[in-house]
């Protein structure tokens, strides 16, 4: 049973997870996993409702699932961002549910059986989402939900505090430390738009489609394209 989580206590737990080899956003995700008793967590930021930046994950499985969600453009994180409400999918194997079928298939293949999305809200603006993953099916308890809301609030505050120290026009360094597949995705999108003679929007669709059809993480495909090892035309 998770005790009622206070923001101050969570901040202490995050500090305890701080490690010189780890970026601050990933420390926050690990603390979240510990406190809430889930198997994985990830933090993503959105800008303009379309572009997505991965800022931290607790582990490799969560990283893979987040990348897959970005590839597909569907899943609890995307839904939480758009609805500004928590999204619960307690059993990804439950075939009666018609939501995000491809996401469910991919997440199950990665060993994730339950997925939850919590919006990162600042006043009424949604800046991204906190995603929780579990390796067994099952709903979150009330305490876990209350805890997740506290974590999401702490995460939003941390993001803003980091960004407050960033030079104008730049993204805070704390948001750049995690393996941010976003950067390579954007570079690859630029390259593909030239290679295929299409718009940037279409180029991103093409990149996602390639990653999906080849069953590869979009970050890997994007890295290959950005470095000129792969052409999509």
């Amino acid at each position: 049973m998770v005790a009622r989580l206070e923001p101050e206590r969570f901040a202490q737990i995050v500090a305890a997870h701080h490690d010189q080899h780890r970026d601050p956003a990933s420390s926050l995700c690990l603390a979240c996993v510990d406190v809430l008793g889930v198997s994985g967590a990830g933090l993503v930021l959105m800008s303009g409702g379309r572009s997505l930046d991965f800022i931290g994950v607790s582990d490799r499985v969560s990283d893979a699932v987040e990348q897959m969600e970005y590839t597909l453009g569907e899943g609890p994180c995307v839904a939480a961002f758009h609805t500004k409400l928590p999204v619960f999918d307690a059993d990804l194997a439950d075939e009666r549910t018609a939501r995000w079928p491809e996401f469910r298939r991919g997440a199950l293949a990665a060993g994730v059986h339950a997925a939850f999305g919590f919006p990162l809200l600042v006043d009424r603006i949604c800046i991204g989402a906190l995603n929780l993953y579990h390796d067994r099916p099952g709903a979150l308890s009330d305490d876990q939900i209350a805890g997740a809301l506290v974590v999401a609030q702490c995460a939003s505050r941390s993001v803003l505090a980091w960004q407050a120290d960033a030079p104008p026009g730049r993204v805070a360094w704390q948001l750049e430390q995690a393996p941010n597949h976003g950067v390579e995705v954007h570079q690859a999108t630029g390259r593909i738009s030239v290679q295929a003679g299409i718009s940037l929007d279409d180029a991103l669709v093409l990149l996602r489609a390639y990653a999906f059809s080849h069953d590869r993480p979009i970050g890997d495909v994007a890295a290959d394209v950005a470095a000129g090892r792969l052409r999509l035309d």
Partner: protein, 246 residues
Amino acid sequence: MSREQDLLAAFTEFADTLVADYDVVEFLHRLAERCVEILDVSEAGLMLADRNGTLCYIASSSERMRLIELFELQHDEGPCLDAYRTGVAVHRSTSDDANERWPTFVAHARGVGFQSMSALPMRLRSDVIGALNLFSTAPEPLSLEDQQVAQALADIATIGILQERALSDGQVVTTQLQSALKSRVVIEQAKGIVAEHNHVSVDDAFRLLRGYARGHNRLLGQTAVEILNGTLASEALAEPTRNQPA
């Protein structure tokens, strides 16, 4: 030009930059590049402390330098951190006792071809706000004269940062975050477009974009937007631009 003239030209250039509407990161990138031109070093980079006193990467003369600076931060060891923490300049070669002090860092630095390094504290009265890192593929550390010049360049960086901090207080952070994220997307996409058009690496594409922005007195973000909407052709970036003051 003699070294003294180079240095004077750099000082004049930076003094001209410090007007109301300037991009501090661009300023620091340029400073890093000037360090490589003026001093006998291969790469230069700058790190700055945030408000909590944690050192952060801010600018570098190349992607290779950026990566090694991030490596220093991640492993919490290296000359830049020492210069920042002690406020005293560090000059070392990877073959001497540096190995004991920074075992992980030295092994990595050697692996990517560096043999000596210096780090100069960026001081403001009794505070240290960051450090200038200078790395070389040659084994000899900086000469005494170069050490003094390097400190003068670190002082220029300090002045630039103080100026910017005075201007940036009171920003609305959420809006700033959104626009910073958006601006980064645009810059990364523009890098990809230029890399593909001009058959260069993404790193070189960034250099072309910055070179053009600088040569035409525009902000980097603005130039990237023009590449994206097609009002600026990628080919135009390859043309040589004036980047030395007359």
